[in-house]
């Protein structure tokens, strides 16, 4: 199997001058993607694929061991259906709950992702962030979701952001690193593109839109810009980077739109959970309801699906 860990590229462009984005073009393109009609067989395949790409997430101050165990159980056994359903790709929790989650998903193939680096604000000194990351890794996290320092980014300290990601990447060791850009705080698509480039040059294995804590979270235009950044990076350096839109994707229909977008911008290679993920807590149930709708012909009710 291909090595899934990227390395920072020491030779990187001057981040003050990165590609600019045609906003009108992006909106036009993404709105066209939402108008596709997806027919039954393709829809069913897409729905199952989407389920298998979900990072089932709980990031609340009120999270308890039991809540995390319950969510892990859901990740492993999504629903009792007449067909075999996949598990989700991973569960995503705070570092302090990694151990609990890890124990619960053992042997199921479900990975454990931990948000680290003073999530969600990222307002902490680098050594605190490194300690946070190392703790999560030592507890057994397979993946680390870090946040970039948006404040520094806005001050134009792009090299600081780059160096920080490099340092966190090193601290991750064998864990894959997802870099959260928190696009809702970046302001424009140009900046989304710039942040994506910085993250990829610094060795990100995934770039991720949002923490889910602020609105707007993942949107199609933002995701499209990030996918294009990934494609350009791949063309230049032959390095694959994964994509994870997170927050705000709660219906199966929207999830399918994202899959179409990935397929058309990046191609088939990215259509598996090594390279594409959905960060979501409510999406799984809607996808399950759509799958049952496809199987039975009747629209489903949330009353018949487990809550978490």
């Amino acid at each position: 199997m291909k090595n899934l860990l990227n390395k920072p590229l020491k030779k990187h462009p001057d981040f003050r001058h990165t590609t600019t984005i045609d906003q009108v073009g992006v909106l036009e393109r993404t709105s066209r993607i939402t108008k596709r009609s997806i027919k039954n067989e393709a829809k069913m395949q897409g729905l199952k694929m989407a389920l298998n790409m979900i990072d089932l997430t709980t990031l609340e101050g009120a999270d308890t061991d039991q809540k995390v165990r319950q969510m892990c159980n859901k990740a492993k056994n999504l629903h009792v259906s007449s067909i075999k359903l996949p598990t989700t790709a991973a569960v995503c929790v705070y570092p302090s709950l990694v151990k609990t989650a890890k124990k619960e998903v053992e042997g199921s193939g479900v990975k454990v992702a931990a948000v680290a680096t003073a999530f969600p604000s990222g307002q902490a000194p680098l050594d605190v962030k490194l300690a946070d990351t190392k703790f999560a890794v030592s507890e057994g996290a397979d993946e680390i979701d870090m946040v970039i320092s948006r404040g520094r980014f806005h001050q134009g300290e792009y090299n600081y952001v780059y160096d920080e990601i490099c340092a966190i990447k090193e601290a991750c060791g064998k864990a894959r690193l997802k870099v959260i850009l928190e696009t809702g705080e970046l302001g424009s698509l140009d900046k989304v593109r710039k942040a994506s480039d910085i993250a990829m040059y610094a060795g990100a294995d995934f770039i991720k839109t949002s923490t889910g804590k602020i609105s707007p979270a993942a949107t199609m235009p933002v995701t499209y810009v990030m996918l294009q950044a990934i494609r350009d990076f791949y063309t230049q350096h032959n390095i694959m980077v994964g994509m994870k839109p997170a927050g705000g994707i709660s219906t199966a229909k929207v999830a399918l739109h994202y899959l179409i977008m990935v397929k058309e911008v990046l191609g088939e290679q990215w259509l598996n959970n090594n390279w594409f993920r959905f960060g979501a807590s409510r999406l799984a149930n809607d996808v399950l309801m759509q799958i049952e709708k496809q199987l039975s012909g009747a629209y489903q009710s949330a009353d018949y699906f487990s809550k978490d």
């Binding site: 009747a298 629209y299 009710s301 009353d303």
Partner: protein, 291 residues
């Protein structure tokens, strides 16, 4: 110069908004050779969207105080009174005589007022404190069923519609209505009344179209908790589907919708569930307290 009349497009009512049907299809029912309007032929997806709207409105509607529900239903009556002329004109357009149209409108308003009064009373009248043979305070209350889908009367465009929907919503249910196929004008105008009264969006959703096209989806939709069929014979498939997914199906049909039988609080109970609560109490009477 003769003028080309503009035929009104009556849009459907979902979640407090007036979208066109997702299907883009229309039909133009006629009465005595004149076209009534462009009416949406709602599709199964419109129905699905309406159920989603009804579901998300249900919790907060059920939690409104009984008195507030009463105020809102009364407000609907007020708004209907204010648009007399439009409704009378539409009823005449759909084949009623002037006198009959006025009578139907006035009875509709009266019926709204009648049920507005019941909002904060049915619970006291029908709820109960039950005798039990243990130290428990045992009482039964009525609770909303959830989303109720209504196939509105075919032959009574306004009065029949109101008689069907109001008892359903005052118990805290939300409704998705399939309006009369041949006489749909009043249903959509009534939606305009609802939209401008204080009824929260999504509590009542009104679709127009062919019963035959929609009926299977209505009875199979798992997120619909109850069904109210208000036309003459309940279709067999409807009945069978409800048997499979255990939906409560009730049948309300009358050849005379102005009948006093329809001013009846038992109609409210048709789509409510009884919740019985056991609350432990100190034994009163008999022996002296133990402390």
């Amino acid at each position: 110069m003769s003028r080309l009349e503009v035929l009104k497009t009556y849009k459907i009512y979902i979640g407090g908004k007036f979208p066109r049907t997702e299907s883009g299809r229309y039909y133009t029912p006629e009465q005595n050779g004149s076209k009534l309007g462009n009416i949406c032929l709602s599709s199964r997806k419109d129905f699905r969207n309406a159920v989603v709207a009804a579901r998300s409105a249900q919790g907060s509607w059920a939690n409104r105080s009984a008195f507030n529900k009463s105020q809102i239903i009364y407000r609907i009556a007020e708004m209907l009174e204010g648009r007399r002329a439009q409704f009378i004109e539409e009823l005449i357009k759909m084949g009623a005589s002037k006198a009959k149209a006025v009578k139907e409108l006035e009875e509709s308003i009266d019926r709204l007022v009648y049920f507005a009064g019941w909002c904060d009373k049915y619970q006291q009248v029908f709820g109960s404190v039950n005798p039990v043979a243990s130290a428990h305070f045992n009482f039964s209350m009525y609770e909303a069923q959830g989303v109720v889908s209504i196939v509105a009367p075919e032959d009574s465009a306004l009065l029949g519609l109101i008689s069907a929907v109001i008892p359903v919503i005052i118990g805290g249910n939300t409704a998705v209505i399939i309006a009369s196929e041949s006489m749909p004008l009043c249903a959509i105008s009534f939606a305009e009344v609802l939209a401008t009264s204080d009824l929260p969006g999504g509590v009542v959703n009104i679709l127009t179209g062919h019963e035959k096209e929609l009926i299977d989806h209505i009875s199979k939709h798992m997120d619909v908790n109850g069904l109210l069929y208000c036309r003459e014979n309940v279709p067999l498939s409807f009945d069978e589907n409800c048997e499979i997914n255990m939906k409560r199906l009730s049948h309300l049909y009358s050849t005379n919708w102005s009948s006093e039988d329809l001013e009846n609080p038992y109609l409210i109970l048709d789509h409510l569930e009884v919740k019985t609560t056991w609350h432990p109490i100190e034994q009163i009477g008999g022996s002296a307290p133990s402390y």
